[in-house]
Symmetry: C2
Subunit: 430 residues, 2 copies
């Protein structure tokens, strides 16, 4: 069952797309079909997708596909003409937010949305200093790519001068039950920006700290950091590209779980179930300031097909009650992972927030020494057994399990049974 096409595909990738283009897994997967929580490779092998958050309501969700087809066949144009699609969608979207978050810009990518959010912060404050965590990722434009410490670009028009990184939260190693320690880090970064003359414009965080390893946090944990940002006259930007649209289970947006009302919320990946649509929601005063500072127009942003895809995602989430499913499956997943932690000392910590869950691997529970190579072996062995997931976190040793939202107890059982087998077969020392 070896896919003989793979070496050729890898060679073509290098030649056509350039070097240093990462693929998942030591043995990359050549995908050809998707349905619900399943992917199939070119040899007909079926994989349980426990990783992809973009196909939020399931790969090739029929309702979303039908919405795209119907609208693409009727009209696809831009927002310099009047069309009800974008208005109907933004009305529904902003209704999921607390007041006063009631205006939106639609873009094509989360990167574009974050790029605008940072300019909104500059427009509102007249300052340029941005604070992010030291284990985050917020996108790929010249400005936004500087926010990723793991990827501070060698070049980038000198914008790195405006960024300050704070230590990412880590509930397993850095006790911070009420978020005061994190807030103190934010305050120190604010002080540094003010001292340097750059000034403080915004704190940008994923409210689940998903790339950081989704630390365990009580509701309202982000409040002290948000208050520090506001006290200093800056904006709080919540990047909900990964955490939004019901994934955290308890709330539709993860910032609601965190007990804060951000100034700007950005979103993307799951918004159109893979159709390139993204955007941001903000207050009317921030929107007005931005729109009078820039003549922003995005040719594809908010086009009728994108809005139809995004509206179908909302329909599907509501009709299937997928947010409640995320809460329920997430709790069951945490229980199953805790049971595995009883059996396998390599599991140092179990973390879960709705339909995001994972286990942190350590060489030793006392020292909590991260075991990223072990995580790699587990991820690759799971892939060989038809289970797709990944790893992430401050120490790159945490399983990242973040399946499409229609993930069921049967799917969870298959995942956990296979994980149990893989852990049993994988020695901690290679």
């Amino acid at each position: 069952m070896t896919d003989l096409a793979i070496p050729g595909l890898m060679d073509r990738r290098r030649a056509l797309l350039g070097p240093n283009m990462s693929t998942f897994y030591d043995d990359p997967v050549h995908v050809v079909r998707g349905e619900g929580v399943w992917l199939w490779d070119a040899e007909g092998r079926k994989y349980l997708d426990c990783y992809n958050n973009v196909p939020h309501v399931g790969h090739c969700n029929p309702r979303v596909v039908q919405a795209i087809c119907a609208q693409a066949a009727a009209l696809n144009t831009h927002t310099r003409y009047l069309h009800a699609g974008i208005l109907d969608y933004v009305e529904r979207l902003t209704a999921t937010f607390d007041d006063p978050l009631n205006t939106a810009i639609l873009t094509c990518t989360g990167s574009e949305a974050n790029d605008i959010a940072l300019r909104m912060a500059e427009a509102m404050t007249g300052k340029r200093g941005i604070i992010a965590t030291d284990a985050t990722y917020h996108g790929n434009t010249t400005l936004v790519s500087h926010l990723s410490k793991s990827n501070v670009p060698a070049v980038g028009f000198g914008l790195g001068q405006y960024l300050r990184h704070v230590q990412a939260p880590d509930s397993y190693r850095i006790p911070d039950p009420d978020g005061q320690h994190f807030a103190a880090g934010v305050q120190a970064a604010i002080d540094d920006l003010e001292r340097s003359g750059i000034g403080f414009a915004a704190l940008i965080v994923c409210p689940l700290f998903l790339n950081e390893g989704f630390p365990t946090q009580a509701e309202g944990w982000l409040r002290p950091a948000a208050e520090a940002a506001r006290r200093a006259g800056g904006l709080l930007i919540c990047d909900e590209v990964q955490s939004g649209f019901g994934r955290c289970g308890s709330h539709f947006w993860a910032h609601q779980k965190q007990g804060v009302i951000p100034d700007v919320v950005t979103m993307g990946k799951p918004m159109g179930n893979g159709h390139p649509v993204a955007g941001l929601v903000t207050r009317a005063d921030i929107m007005a300031r931005f729109r009078t500072s820039f003549r922003y127009f995005n040719t594809f942003g908010g086009n009728p097909v994108s809005c139809a895809a995004a509206a179908a995602v909302l329909d599907e989430l509501q009709e299937k009650d997928l947010q409640a499913n995320a809460a329920r499956i997430g709790r069951l997943a945490a229980d199953r992972l805790q049971a595995l932690a009883q059996k396998y000392p390599v599991i140092g910590d179990v973390r879960q927030s709705g339909m995001v869950f994972g286990a942190e691997f350590v060489l030793d529970r006392d020292s909590k020494t991260p075991a990223p190579a072990y995580a790699d072996r587990v991820v690759n062995r799971l892939r060989q057994r038809g289970i797709l997931l990944s790893k992430l976190g401050r120490h790159k040793n945490t399983l990242k399990i973040r399946p499409p939202m229609p993930f069921s107890t049967a799917h969870l059982d298959l995942l956990m049974t296979t994980l149990d087998q893989v852990l049993a077969e994988t020695p901690v020392a290679p």
Copy 2:
């Protein structure tokens, strides 16, 4: 036949999307359906679309719609898995370029592509100075938005310091038959950047100078400016977001008409006929330098549905021979416009390059005083008569006629007959 929904739609736009969101025409069009070169409004009124270049192979082109539907129903995922779609497409795309332009990055928007192209220039040169014309537009990211002089943002993280504008070419007012005058402007900007210590990284131009008013230029006109850029060690970036995919008639890419091989070519709008797909093509050495300086990844970029849409556009262009149609209709259009210029002294100049054509309005042929208000009146009156087009250019007085590529002689006849009537009825003094 008044669309009573329009005031409500305008109010909802302001409330949901913010102020200062431009719409076309004094009396905005509420579109609901498109087919080929036609758009319909909510009252059932039909409009001849002489403006939109995004629906390149026609609104709701059945082949493109079918390709999107089929692929969206089969699989839509990202490039960290292997999939032949992006490789097959990039192979076909790069085959339309001259050597050594044989590698590509796919993005979602032309803005993202230009944002990368400028970073490639910085990565290759170690410098940051960018030169663009003073009447251009290259997109909406923080970095790229600074290139538009008409829209230099009040805020934008200080990136304006790296930009220098050169006077846009203007074949009607600034004699420059061989491009030497423009090249001298580029050289002066290079010298200024070098003197200031910023250094010169790239010259970025649309090879048709479309926003500038698509001046009449002999083949090879851009060569002297390109040579100045190369001599100074900088890159030539051709932004073919508007000019590419056969629109210029004589060539598939407008830089080929200009007799230059750029270092980077960016593209977008027509690439997926409205599906959000864009990208750039460059040399292997530039790609390698960029990919080792950045870990660039774009979640939606190059996904299987985007590639299917883009491949269907290439199929449609080839099968219907739409590049040849652009050349033929363009020539006929220029003849018809010249005939109108005989009748109406307000037409100071006629310009055309393939399926891009227009007339520049002046108050007086001797002084060549631009008549932008007249152009506005003509554009709005044509809209009332069911003909959609716009205006642009250095003086905002030039009709911008840039229809979908399947525009026929019958469509051209309807456009020109109506334009004749409108010019007859529209006094130069209001």
